[in-house]
């Protein structure tokens, strides 16, 4: 499959760019990069760990290009170094423990936003100026431009501090041990309600607007008129004819906005004290834990590239024109 292979190659180059960025930024800053990067490490890390950490980031006694190759080798073998804040854990372990919670929040809220937003978009395009359109479209436009941090803070203050309806932190009650028991799952669900709702609200507008605008443009096409002339039912025209085609750009926007959603998730987790990547990262930033901050860029880039690849595969499946090539 030539198309997918070329995409994979492109993603490899993009990943290499992110790694190169990570490599050159500390070296481009004024002053001694080693002293800067590991200034906080001296107190927590034993000497031999510090040496290993330096080597991971390519700070070896060699020319710059050899240093670069050395760093690339670390990155491509999955070694992101040790975390300074969470020593003795490695960056991989810190991110590995936090990532499932972030993926849970992002995945669930994206699915909900996609379903709700697309459905509302279809409705408001079908009856433009109707009740759904007049309420949902302006509301979602406003929601789209409100920062995630604002939505999260308002939910946290309103529903969990002032009204005390929901817990205000952690992913599950600290009295429980992780297990597949009913009590544990219920606790996880209860703690996830507010973060998931606020992340969904932030995203729903984007899907609604994309879907509405595509539907409106498609509804003027000849094949819709033809379908109507044949006497097809409204529902069939709406979903099988128009919505099916209008969905393609929504899939693109899913992959494109994933970066923004991941960013929104980081903020939401910090506000709700939710133990995902954002929360860990916040701790890392406050402690100037550079290996962790750099590691999250690599992980986020990898996540972003995978999402783009999934969108590519979906495209090949949904758009027959691509399959022929």
């Amino acid at each position: 499959m030539g198309f997918l292979l070329r995409r994979v190659l492109f993603y490899l180059v993009a990943f290499l760019c992110a790694a190169t960025f990570n490599f050159s930024i500390p070296r481009m800053m004024p002053g001694d990069p080693i002293a800067m990067m590991f200034s906080q490490a001296g107190t927590t890390l034993p000497l031999e760990s510090l040496d290993a950490l330096r080597a991971t980031f390519g700070f070896i006694d060699a020319p710059l290009f050899t240093q670069y190759l050395h760093y690339l080798k670390s990155v491509f073998t999955g070694d992101l170094g040790l975390s300074i804040k969470f020593f003795p854990l490695s960056v991989n372990e810190v991110i590995g423990r936090a990532l499932p919670w972030t993926l849970f929040l992002v995945g669930l809220s994206t699915l909900m936003a996609f379903a709700i937003g697309s459905w509302l978009g279809i409705r408001s395009a079908w009856r433009r100026g109707g009740r759904v359109d007049r309420i949902a479209t302006p509301t979602s436009l406003v929601l789209q431009s409100v920062p995630p941090v604002v939505v999260a803070l308002i939910f946290l203050y309103g529903l969990s501090v002032a009204l005390d309806l929901f817990p205000s932190g952690y992913a599950y009650s600290p009295d429980l041990d992780p297990s597949f028991s009913w009590a544990f799952i219920a606790s996880v669900a209860e703690h996830a309600v507010l973060p998931v709702i606020s992340l969904t609200l932030v995203q729903v507008g984007g899907y609604l607007i994309t879907m509405r605008n595509n539907m409106i443009n498609l509804l003027g096409e000849d094949f819709i008129t033809m379908g109507r002339a044949k006497g097809l039912s409204d529902a069939r025209l709406r979903y099988n004819y128009a919505a099916r085609n209008a969905l393609l750009p929504s899939i693109t926007s899913f992959a494109m906005t994933l970066g923004i959603v991941l960013g929104g998730s980081l903020i939401t987790e910090i506000v709700f004290n939710y133990p995902g990547l954002g929360y860990v990262l916040f701790q890392g930033i406050l402690a100037r834990d550079y290996p962790l901050i750099q590691g999250q860029l690599m992980i986020m880039t990898a996540a972003m590239l995978s999402a783009n690849f999934i969108a590519d595969v979906l495209y090949v499946y949904l758009d027959p024109r691509l399959r022929k090539a």
Partner: protein
């Protein structure tokens, strides 16, 4: 041009958006008049709820929230418009150059744009800001400006590519007009709605992103902006001690300003693409009476952005 201004001023969304944005600009300009002490002066006891002296209450450090808010408006607006300008300038330049000159130039610039688009922006900015250390608002504006132009470049390129095929451009080329004249005089006016859409979208994005970075503790904690206000509120646990006014003020400002800009952007989209207009019931009725045939719309910016990815993929596929 007159026509554009008229349709802009008769669009209710545009008027609402314009009013909100002008209101914030006025606050930013009048900040020194609106409050007689400095934003970082300690003028009250810590965490006072709103009262006659401090109409928006005070922070844990005893600073006046209202004074911080009006001075923060200055910073946040300046950062927003500065970075919005950089994003739009770079995006438009790259997009037009790639779309107009084509060939190797296009291949390279398009590749660059795709890389910029696919590397997640916020994590990248976090690394940059962390290494710069306590980045001032202007530095944040700059780094957002140089890393966030991908979307604008892609949309501008796609529209330039389609304009390039039109007869009047070909005619200008045949009479030997220079490339720069064609770009500035023939292309630019037809790209105005996309450039405007891009600029306003970038301002929204920058204001949000600046607030986010500062909220994360990557900004300069002694600066005064909406993001730094949120950062101090978060680190002094304003929420758990019930000091809602410290949170509400910057949140409301961010939300209202974003809402105003997005109304402006929606208005631009509606003006550029008449089909997207949400008509009132009366107007719809009148339209039906008049038997107005809905004309084929020009492509709107938002749908364009979504569709172009597919286009570029298909084009590559076709050229293979």
């Amino acid at each position: 041009m007159n026509n554009i201004t008229r349709s802009f001023l008769s669009n209710p969304r545009a008027l609402v958006g314009l009013a909100i944005v002008l209101f914030f600009m006025l606050i930013a300009l009048c900040a020194p008049i609106l409050s007689d002490h400095g934003p970082n002066d300690r003028v009250a006891r810590p965490h006072q709820p709103p009262n006659t002296e401090q109409i928006m209450g005070s922070t844990r450090m005893g600073r006046d929230v209202f004074t911080q808010l009006v001075h923060g408006t200055q910073t946040s607006l300046l950062v927003g418009f500065l970075a919005g300008f950089i994003v739009t300038a770079v995006g438009t330049l790259v997009g037009i150059t790639a779309g107009y000159f084509g060939g190797k130039v296009d291949e390279f610039l398009n590749f660059l744009t795709n890389i910029v688009l696919v590397i997640p922006n916020l994590p990248l900015l976090m690394v940059l800001a962390a290494f710069i250390g306590e980045a001032s608002p202007m530095v944040i504006a700059f780094i957002i400006g140089i890393t966030s132009w991908g979307w604008g470049a892609r949309v501008t390129r796609a529209q330039t590519l389609s304009l390039r095929q039109r007869d009047y451009i070909q005619a200008s080329e045949l009479i030997g007009e220079s490339s720069w004249r064609i770009i500035l005089v023939e292309l630019m006016p037809n790209l105005l709605s996309i450039i405007g859409f891009n600029f306003i979208g970038s301002v929204i994005y920058t204001v949000i992103t600046e607030a986010t970075l500062e909220f994360l503790g990557l900004g300069d904690p002694s600066a005064v902006s909406w993001g730094v206000m949120l950062y101090h509120a978060q680190t002094s646990s304003a929420i758990s001690v019930g000091a809602w006014w410290e949170i509400l003020a910057p949140c409301a400002a961010l939300a209202l300003f974003g809402a105003g800009l997005s109304q402006l952007n929606f208005a631009i989209d509606e003006i550029a693409n008449p089909r997207l207009r949400t008509l009132g019931r009366l107007k719809r009725y009148q339209k039906r009476l008049a038997g107005d045939p809905e004309d084929k719309p020009p492509v709107n910016a938002a749908a364009m952005a979504a569709a172009t990815r597919n286009d570029t993929v298909l084009q590559k596929e076709g050229s293979k």
